[in-house]
């Protein structure tokens, strides 16, 4: 056992570090504080500038082919780059959908000229993508979506209501799953498209989240016309395409942003609780130890993934437990950090420690346990795909979609 890079890996890591040193600020104790997650125009422009720099140095889309602006590198290099980038203050989150989900889906299902048209601007951050999948009555049960796609000659007429779309209010393009045939079983009647967000008939409304921030939207589609040439996959095989996209999503959702163990550990050292450092309190120590074990355990699990990739093997399934561990941990750290402050934990102005990181995280953590697969869906995935347990009995199995019972919510 060792934790050393091979010479090739070390060279790549050094190159990544040199790029980051030249172009970004290293994280310090002072930068580990809450920073607004609201993406305004200025933040988007800043993110675009950063993305263009990354693309120029071929650190965006590391695993993409070079002809589309990527590096033609390996998944291992992507992980090494991510490890290094984690140590720097850089804009995140705006291009995940395009670079991480949409273009990889296109690479499987679109003709080369389509990929050539959309891949380079997505990689450079010139064009932003969003995902029109979830609906008010189709969340975890995504295949239960109701947005209609009706064939009209060479076009499709789309009507419906999408929700939980990240960044749709400034996106240039979207991918969309809609129901092209409601008379067949639910998974069989879906078709997958991409479209410009400037297409007539699209209305975007921002959703105010419990954190007060509005990064999610709902999107109304009224008689939106999409040419059949913008269909990905066959008619009625949209679910298969969406599964490709969602599989890529799990790669892009990694560790939740903090506060993490090191933040609450430093805080507990500095902060007095009942007349002594909070870290001297046995109950505090016990909880801290458990968070350390979770955070560090995930790190070691990633080491195992890296080992497999480094040997050219397929990583084991253990990597899929990350989100199920890190999102509830974030919520607990936030809640307990506030507990240490006593009644002052309720104060959320700029006098609160780390720019009110615990308080803000307390409000954004619930979303982390839901987005990209709820805790419950993650447990189903572990139970069914890793442990090989049977799926739940489905009340809607083999029933035409338009005969499936619906509730009031």
């Amino acid at each position: 056992m060792d934790f050393e890079d091979t010479p090739d890996e070390a060279a790549f890591r050094a190159e990544a570090r040199a790029f980051l040193d030249a172009n970004a600020q290293r994280k310090t104790r002072e930068t580990r504080v809450y920073q607004s997650l609201e993406l305004d125009d200025a933040a988007v422009r800043k993110a675009q500038t950063w993305q263009a720099k990354k693309a120029d140095a071929r650190f965006a889309g590391i695993t993409w082919p070079r002809k589309y602006g990527g590096r033609g590198g390996t998944p291992l290099q992507q992980i090494i780059y991510n490890q290094e980038e984690e140590n720097y203050v850089v804009p995140r989150g705006v291009f995940n959908q395009g670079v991480g989900l949409v273009i990889p889906t296109m690479m499987t299902y679109a003709p080369p000229e389509t990929i050539e048209r959309y891949a380079p601007p997505a990689l450079r951050g010139d064009e932003i993508w969003c995902q029109l999948f979830s609906e008010p009555s189709a969340g975890s049960d995504l295949a239960g979506l109701r947005t209609r796609a009706e064939r009209r000659g060479d076009e499709w007429l789309i009507n419906g209501h999408k929700i939980w779309n990240s960044n749709a209010h400034f996106a240039d393009h979207a991918i969309l799953v809609a129901r092209s045939d409601p008379t067949v079983a639910k998974h069989a009647g879906l078709t997958f498209f991409y479209l410009s967000m400037k297409t007539p008939g699209i209305e975007v409304r921002r959703i105010k989240q419990i954190s007060g921030v509005s990064n999610f939207t709902e999107v109304f589609l009224n008689d939106v016309r999409i040419p059949d040439s913008q269909r990905l996959g066959k008619v009625g095989e949209g679910w298969k395409v969406a599964v490709t996209t969602l599989a890529n999503e799990r790669y892009t959702i990694g560790e939740s942003e903090g506060p993490d163990f090191e933040d609450i550990f430093s805080f507990a050292r500095a902060y007095a609780l009942d007349g002594e450092p909070a870290l001297a309190n046995d109950a505090v120590r016990e909880r801290l130890a458990d968070w350390y074990i979770k955070r560090q355990g995930l790190k070691y699990i990633r080491f195992r993934t890296l080992t497999a990739l480094s040997r050219g093997q397929t990583p084991g399934p253990e990597a899929s437990i990350g989100k199920l561990i890190s999102a509830p941990k974030l919520q607990d750290i936030a809640s307990n950090g506030m507990d240490m402050l006593g009644m002052a934990g309720a104060i959320m102005d700029d006098t609160a420690p780390m720019n009110a990181w615990f308080q803000n995280a307390f409000l954004y953590a619930p979303g982390k346990r839901i987005a990209g697969g709820t805790d419950e869906i993650m447990r189903n995935i572990i139970a069914e795909r890793i442990l090989g347990l049977p799926g739940d009995i489905r009340a809607d199995k083999d029933i035409p979609f338009n005969e499936i019972p619906t509730g009031r919510r």
Partner: protein
Amino acid sequence: MNFDFSDEVKMMRDEARRFLKDRCPPKVVRRALDGAAVYDKDLWREIAALGWIGVAIPEEFGGSGIGYEALCVLAGEMGAALAPVPFSSSTYLAAEAILLAGDDVQKNEMLPEIASGECIATLALAEGAGNPARNAISTTYRNGKLTGTKWPVPDGAIADQAIVVAKGGAGDIGFFAVPLEGDGVTRATLRTLDPTRNYATITFQDAPAVPLLANGRGWTVVETILDRAAVLVAFEQVGGAEAALHMAKDYALERFAFGRSIASFQAIKHRLADMYVALELARAHAYYGAWALSHDAPELAGAASAARVAATEAYYLTTKENIQIHGGMGFTWEMDCHLYYRRAKALALLLGNANYWRSRLIGQLEHLEAVE
């Protein structure tokens, strides 16, 4: 990055698994459970002949010196099989104490007999209830004689020799080798939660004892022994937890209720998913502990503490939920669920409880931060 065992070590693991599947099925474990034997002498002789006891003992002292990574994977298999033999006491505790505290002459005298399995040895540390603590030691060594009472002593009912932690002449903590069949030693077997792991009270009254001479650091050495043992016991715990998870999963798949396999109910699936998550976290920490142990790294204390806590929690969770998933059948003597449930708690208590190790872990991190 090579965070995995070598092919040679993995081959040893697979061989050990095959051997124990054949030689240590539940009926062998149950002979100890039912009181027919305190431990399985034949199994002990066979694993000694295979060289397992001496796998991390250097060749010059009668072992094979293959190393700690090998000992870790063997521990995992012993844990999974619930082997009713004094492997942990002789190998992780007594042999390690001698390696850390004995001089070369003493290592030469004592270790070959331990490695060959002829001498069952143990570490006599505790003097009553509570976690390991320096101020709990009152057994005293003076003029070649040891006096005091140690309980509970793991494998104390069957051990031939004890390495006793006691106060020396100046009140310093030291290690003293005492043959347990000798003068001034009386012992009583204790009734225990997990009869496949025996405990005894051992009373020393002016018992002839030999001080281990290499090291005067006293309690620090005790903590190093505990750290090393914590990693090895974590492998036993992970091995047992994995066995319990598989048992629960296999039963859930076969058991039908309400017209379907109970493994299709989310109440069961989510429970099994949580067991898997706890197991994988524990395994990751145990691997890191194996690295720290085999490299004698300064990270050992922190790595051992984290592995100990993660493995203790995973073994408890998987064994209690294994009984729950089995329903009423899991509560019967005939089903093997309770063998793992008992062993999980016995190992959880062996080296200090989980909160003792949580506090030790945070103490290590405080120390590291202070060094920075």
